[in-house]
Assembly symmetry: C2
Homo-oligomer: 313 residues x 2
């Protein structure tokens, strides 16, 4: 079952840690790039506390530099997009002629920007539907869901995408290949309302949906995205899908999306690819998204005020 394929995970936080550890546990050759946790993981391994079955991955092929990892067949990028400027130095040592780079990241426009810096690299999008968090060094807490959709952005060899999906499934991960733009815009339908609204109103998903005004507002924000997607010719991002996202979220346990955790822990928020970029695209398409524009402005204000406060300390 195991392919003689070499994987690398860049950005081993909750998402990268979870999918990478699942692959490694299934016998795949997975090298992990660590930053702060490098020493800890080398010594103690990577613990995955998961509703789908907990396990300790040990030893871990842990590295502190991508130069030490060397060329790979598949690179899973699970950095926060606020750190994407690092890819210019992190990626080159990992690339060979047929490396597939999968951006498991939030937002709209990431592949376009990475492709500009690496015109010849085969890119795909990874859309993770998972509730997980890195709770302490070397420990991932996986609370619910766990599937991942792969959207081919610029890989000319469809077989490599299919092979990645097959590997993920071998590792016990629900994985599907989906049309690239549909995948990104569908994810945005959930991400854009819930990430920002939970930050702005200091709330979790459940209370926002329990209150009828914010529930309607979140639905209307989803419809703003659906209108833009429709104008762009992206399929299946419609009111029906928005209904499903509301229903799915109602079934979830109260949840703090990644941006809310980033805000609470004083980390930078992914405002650019989650809001600024899709809002620009929407305006250019002639379908501005005013409620989400309002959300973006509020988030930028909060982000800047926090930054100012920090500088003043």
């Amino acid at each position: 079952m195991v392919q003689p394929k070499k994987y690398a995970v860049i950005g081993t936080g909750a998402i990268g840690g979870y999918y990478g550890a699942k692959l490694a546990r299934a016998g795949f050759d997975v090298s992990f790039l660590f930053h702060r946790d490098y020493e800890f993981v080398r010594e103690h391994g990577l613990q995955v506390d998961s509703v789908a079955g907990s396990f300790l991955l040990r030893p871990v092929r842990a590295f502190a530099s991508t130069a030490d990892i060397g060329p790979c067949d598949v690179v899973l990028v699970a950095l926060k997009t606020v750190n994407n400027h690092l890819l210019k130095t992190l990626l080159p040592p990992l690339l060979k002629e047929d490396t597939l780079v999968v951006l498991i990241q939030n937002g709209i426009g990431v592949e376009e920007d990475v492709q500009r810096d690496f015109p010849d690299v085969a890119l795909a999008a990874g859309l993770a539907f998972i509730c997980c968090a890195k709770t302490e060094p070397g420990r991932v807490d996986h609370q619910c869901y766990g599937s991942i959709n792969i959207g081919n952005y610029s890989c000319r060899d469809e077989g490599r995408i299919a092979s990645l999906v097959a590997d993920l499934r071998t590792a016990g991960i629900e994985a599907h290949e989906v049309e690239y733009r549909e995948a990104r815009w569908k994810k945005a339908v959930w991400n854009m309302p819930f990430n920002g609204m939970t930050v702005l109103l200091s709330a979790q998903t459940d209370s926002l949906l329990r209150q009828p005004d914010t529930r309607r507002l979140i639905y209307e924000q989803m419809l703003e995205i659906a209108r833009t997607a429709d104008r762009l010719g992206v399929r299946h991002v419609d009111a029906h899908f928005a209904d499903r996202m509301i229903e799915t979220t109602l079934e979830m346990t109260p949840y703090s999306p990644s941006m809310k955790l980033d805000f609470e822990f004083g980390r930078p928020m992914e405002i650019y690819y989650l809001y600024t970029r899709p809002l620009e695209i929407a305006r250019q398409a002639g379908t501005p998204m005013p409620k989400l524009e309002m959300l973006e402005a509020g988030l930028k204000f909060l982000s800047q005020r926090r930054g100012e406060g920090r500088n003043a300390e």
Copy 2:
């Protein structure tokens, strides 16, 4: 100079206290309805700390019931609109055939609703441009501005409006008669963005205008109101006026609008007349105001959560 006219002030907070005390100090016959501060003001008088000259009004014609005040020529209503249901019992003892009732209140739709309950009463709107606050019992702190615009809603005798404006001027108050709808919608251009945004982002006017994203957002909210006003045929509520409101606010000292003070002190917020009602009117006119709808939903969420928290205590 002094007319043999009888005034009453209902809702003697900062606004009612300021304008009423100025009139009384100029020699007009002004009766004040007090609630909590009745005993205090009877004993100590009403202190106005004002940039335009501080003074103590003492004795004060203070009353705990409008039945004790009796019929008046002019009633200045300075209640918060969240208490307008009280008018059904507070107003009748004050009314005679030609009583003019002036609603010095925030929002859109107040005159319409009061008129429904009192079909024969002559109503006018009072739009106060003033920074003031009630800092403790019997004490009004007047920080800047102080003018008031009077808009005739249903008074058939124009002379009574002119006479009120003349009295206010005699009392040293800058007062103007303005077209009713223009007055209300112009006030909304300032009130709607700044009241809600300062609550939602825990900020004062100055920081919202210093940050370019929230400044642009506030301007765009003002333009939403201008589009609705234009559709309704209300004059002079346009981009030029929005520019002026931004400029004026930049010149003000950092300011917390009344809704922010209400929120901070745990008092109900005037969401209905400040947001819900004008948003309804805008939708009916075919010019929805999406950014302000978003603001309304956020405020309702915060208001309800606070209420829930209180019930849970």
